[in-house]
């Protein structure tokens, strides 16, 4: 399993990647939509975890662009916002079960990743 984490908060996304790696999940991270698109062009990912509010491009638009390049990829949205609009936009794309509010609990995130990929995985 290989996943891509996209969030403009570098400290958040790098630490999350490290915690996933401890649990045996191979996660790369980037802090912009452009970098995410470059990564999916050159690497294979099963799933992307996207912040719904990232600079310049919205998480929803980024998902659509990634999907156009990698139709099989799965997605989970993260948000720091509790706004109804964001929830509607994000959950419309992924289903409400794949829309997480930060701070994200690592066990919940892994459950959602496994659910999205239809697989089971032991945690730490």
């Amino acid at each position: 399993m290989r996943i891509l984490l996209v969030d403009d908060e570098e400290e958040l996304v790098s630490t999350l990647a490290e915690r996933l790696a401890i649990r045996g999940i191979n996660a790369d991270w980037v802090t912009s939509g452009d970098a995410a698109l470059k990564m999916v062009e050159s690497q294979h990912y099963d799933l992307a975890v996207l912040d719904i509010k990232i600079p310049i491009i919205s998480g929803v638009s980024l998902k659509k662009k990634i999907q156009a390049k990698r139709p099989g990829m799965k997605f989970i949205f993260m948000t720091g916002h509790g706004s109804e609009d964001d929830f509607m936009a994000g959950s419309k794309e992924t289903g409400p079960e794949f829309y997480l509010v930060k701070p994200v609990d690592i066990k919940t995130l892994i459950e959602k990743i496994n659910m999205a990929l239809n697989r089971r995985r032991d945690t730490l």
Binding site: E9, E11, L12, T15, I56, L124
Partner: protein, 221 residues
């Protein structure tokens, strides 16, 4: 006070809400980072329980990262506190540069979302203005919001304040898109009442890519 001066209550409330929502988002981000780093410490503790050696330098780095986020949150909260207190008095004196700096910091997430930087060219001397601080903050936000949309390729808005005998001039420059902007100034309906209330004047220099806001040094005179 707001209704008396012809400023739409809803517009003022919308501005206050927008800033508050942005600040709460920023604080939430710092908490999310602290949460991940605390979780990582917990992971290391569990690994140590299982006999894995943990590098103390790594633990120190995590503690430092947590402290950085605490300082960041503290700074965000201080800005929010200053902003919240701007409605305490109808009119008071403030250093214009401090106020511009505050608005830049409160607008930082909106700038970051657009990939824009706002730079203040700050003079050494303070430039005191006596005015309605909340109205001025609201007006500055309307201009910043507009300026961020028309920065052109440089993606930087320059701000500076200057003083004349009776006025303070605030310049928003490097607005390359001013020529082709669908409107030459921020929304008239949003700024008209604020400009009137602040006894301010707006000048647009399209060729220079600059908007100049002129305000009386003392609104009571």
């Amino acid at each position: 006070m707001i209704a008396e001066q012809g400023i739409e209550y809803e517009s003022a409330l919308r501005f206050f809400g927008k800033m508050s929502a942005s600040v709460s988002h920023e604080i939430n981000n710092t908490l999310a980072i602290i949460n991940e780093n605390a979780g990582l410490l917990e992971d290391f503790a569990l690994m140590a329980d299982k006999g894995r050696a943990i590098d103390p330098a790594r633990l120190k780095t995590i503690a430092e990262k947590i402290l950085i986020q605490i300082h960041r949150a503290d700074s965000i909260i201080k800005n929010m506190n200053k902003f919240a207190h701007s409605v305490d008095e109808r009119v008071r004196s403030v250093d214009m540069n401090d106020l511009l700096q505050l608005m830049i910091e409160l607008s930082s997430r909106f700038a970051s979302m657009r990939g824009v930087t706002i730079e203040l060219k700050r003079p050494a001397e303070p430039l005191f203005i006596t005015t309605n601080i909340f109205f001025l903050e609201n007006l500055l936000w309307q201009f910043l919001d507009f300026a961020m949309d028309i920065t052109g390729q440089e993606k930087t808005v320059f701000l500076n304040a200057d003083i004349t005998e009776n006025h303070i001039l605030i310049r928003f420059s490097q607005l390359e898109g001013l020529k082709s902007a669908p409107r030459n100034t921020p929304s008239v309906t949003m700024t008209e009442g604020l400009l009137d209330a602040l006894k301010g004047k707006l000048t647009t220099n399209i060729e220079a890519g600059m908007i100049i806001l002129t305000l009386p040094k003392d609104i009571n005179r």
